[in-house]
């Protein structure tokens, strides 16, 4: 009873071993034919897709077959391989590169990997399979595999018949006599095969660094430059033959240097320093060629040693012909004519019409100015006009006003906010008089 039971057990074990063995052998052949390679995944950067210690299989693919989302094994360039997922494929004039990222990594790999002939796409993996393979390539595993191989060799190459079992069963009369020789031969074969098996197995498994990475970002750095300050000029008429323009020197973002000149004749004006005060003195002698007109004195701030300059500050200076009676001119100031605004025209052609009053005619005339690009502005008008009408428009908003120009002196009307909406009708065309 015991012997048949043991025999059946041994038979079952042999059958299981045979099935596994055939599967293993077939997978090796299939792998060779189909370009499939197994790989032990050594780190967990692809988890949870592929955990550390898994055995993964990659199939050789050409660069054209790669797609974003594929998990691939590519050489890192230092001899090792990295097994990560493709997040981008970049075609450059030096070839195709893939951007990879481990599923468990917070950031993409710093390196772009070139796609050559040596790329494998992972199509299957067995958790812990790599640990098993790794264990079998360790000393105990190798020893057990060796024992297993020897055991199987012994079964396969043993004498055809058990010596003690039914001696009358001998199918070859010479067998009994040859047993010793055959046994030695079998032992030699067994030893040789074992050594070969060890040779195959005493090899190391290449690392496949499904490498970890980590990223730290430093957010929040802000760098900003300063701006130079345009000085505010004050002009004082000292007497009929001299005006003085003064301003305060700026020190932010750094101490400014200043230059001053007459725009019209490019005459440089020496800048005088008194504490934080800067000034230039303008006399008719400095206005050669421009006497009898209004000139502009320009003051420019700059940072020493750099190309940085401030926006110009300007001051108008007037002289009578011959240079007598020099005086400070003024830029536009309030006090212009009272203006009424109305919307005129017809559907699809609505315009702004301005009317104003002025008891006297300005010496130069009127100018209509606007923001928001009212068609026709700025409009320069004669001194006798008291009305102006734009051309038709829509879809604009802004301000519009009238300037009375007396030589260098401009006075502005109050500014009127207009709003012309979209469309043909005038329901949304507004220009309320102040």
């Amino acid at each position: 009873m015991t012997r048949p039971a043991l025999g059946r057990l041994r038979g079952a074990a042999l059958t299981i071993g045979a099935v596994l063995g055939v599967l293993c052998a077939l997978s090796v052949v299939a792998g060779l034919v189909l370009g499939i390679r197994p790989l032990v995944v050594q780190t967990g950067s692809m988890s949870p897709t592929i955990d550390a210690g898994a055995l993964a299989w990659g199939r050789h693919v050409s660069a054209d077959d790669l797609a974003v989302g594929d998990v691939v094994m590519v050489p890192k360039g230092d001899g090792d391989r990295v097994t990560h997922r493709i997040v981008a494929i970049k075609e450059t004039n030096t070839g195709t590169f893939v951007q990879l990222k481990g599923d468990a990594n917070p950031a993409v790999d710093a390196q772009l990997y070139p796609v050559g002939d040596d790329v494998y796409r992972v199509f299957a993996d067995v958790p812990y399979g790599g640990r098993v393979v790794a264990w079998f390539s360790g000393p105990i595993g190798l020893f057990l595999l060796g024992m297993y191989a020897m055991g199987m060799l012994f079964v396969a190459l043993r004498p055809r018949r058990d010596d003690g079992d039914s001696p009358s069963d001998g199918d070859d009369p010479s067998q009994g006599a040859g047993d010793g020789r055959r046994g030695k031969r079998a032992a030699r074969r067994l030893a040789a095969t074992s050594v070969a098996a060890f040779g195959v197995l005493v090899s190391t498994v290449a690392p496949s660094w499904a490498t970890w990475n980590d990223t730290v970002s430093l957010l929040g750095t802000s760098l900003s430059t300063g701006s130079l300050t345009t000085p505010t000029l004050t002009c004082v008429r000292d007497n009929a033959s001299q005006v003085t323009i003064t301003w305060t020197a700026a020190t932010s973002p750094a101490a400014h240097d200043y230059t001053a000149a007459v725009v019209q004749n490019s005459q440089a004006l020496p800048v005088l320093t008194s504490g934080a005060q800067r000034s230039v003195v303008v006399t008719p002698a400095l206005l050669a060629g421009t006497l009898g007109t209004t000139v502009t004195v320009r003051v420019t701030g700059s940072l020493p040693g750099t190309s940085w300059v401030a926006a110009d500050a300007t001051q108008l200076v007037t002289t009578a012909s011959g240079g007598s009676n020099i005086d400070c001119g003024s830029t536009a100031s309030a006090g212009g004519p009272p203006v009424t605004c109305s919307v005129v025209g017809s559907n699809g052609d609505w315009k702004i019409k301005l009317d104003w009053t002025s008891s006297s005619n300005p010496t130069t005339g009127f100018v209509v100015r606007s923001t928001g690009a009212v068609p026709g502005t700025p409009a320069t008008l004669g001194p006798t006009l008291r009305t102006w009408t734009s051309t038709g428009f829509e879809s604009r908003t802004g301000q519009i006003w009238v300037v009375a120009v007396n030589g260098a002196v401009e006075t502005e009307s109050s500014r009127i906010s207009y709003s012309f909406g979209n469309g043909q009708g005038n329901g949304n065309k507004l220009c309320p008089s102040p």
Partner: protein, 197 residues
């Protein structure tokens, strides 16, 4: 009859034993084919359950980094800060760093004008902006501008070690006049990648 059965069993057992050796072939094939032809051989297979942890100034992410902030910068001005890069994990890594800058307004490309310098100085020279600088010589393989690599040649850090680098940003005295009133927001990114032990 009985002897025939035994003989048959003996033969099939032999065949199955041969086939069973396929397991050895299979495992051998895995261990050998896993040995890529171009790979460095490593004695034994280590399956690492280690951790890789990069910390900059002791932190895993910094949202309000202000040490490199500067306002009212003028040509010739500079700002500098020392960063401590640490390997807080238990595997060695190499790290690289890059910077990304966003200009405001976009038309004023302040980031392109700013010059960068990375040295191994462990403290900043000059107490305060706008004259703080990094002493020492420039580290090899480091960037000189924003919006590109800051540390381009990967620097190794063994597990549990750290190093300090000094980052300086300068607006050169040749900066264009148009760069007045410009601003740029900078993100520094440090990337660590595990290396074989």
């Amino acid at each position: 009859m009985a002897s025939h059965a035994r003989i048959r069993r003996g033969r099939t057992g032999r065949a199955r034993a041969f086939m069973a050796m396929g397991v050895v072939v299979g495992l051998g094939a895995i261990t050998t084919t896993a040995l890529w032809t171009d790979s460095a051989s490593v004695a034994g297979t280590t399956i690492s359950t280690g951790t890789l942890d990069l910390k900059v100034d002791g932190q895993d992410s910094v949202t309000g980094y202000t040490s490199l902030n500067i306002t009212n910068m003028v040509p010739g001005g500079s700002v500098a800060a020392v960063l401590m890069i640490a390997n807080a994990g238990n595997v060695p890594f190499t790290y690289v760093a890059s910077s990304a800058a966003t200009n405001t307004p976009v038309a004023k490309d302040l980031a392109a004008a700013l010059q960068v310098k990375v040295t191994g100085a462990t403290s900043v020279t000059g107490a305060a902006t706008p004259t703080a600088t990094c002493g020492g010589t420039t580290l090899a393989g480091t960037g000189t501008a924003l919006n590109t690599g800051l540390v381009t040649t990967a620097r190794p850090l063994a597990a549990g070690t750290n190093e300090k680098i000094c980052v300086q940003v300068t607006l050169p005295s040749t900066a264009a006049n148009a760069l007045q009133g410009a601003s740029t927001s900078v993100t520094l990114q440090f990337d660590a990648t595990q290396v074989a032990p």
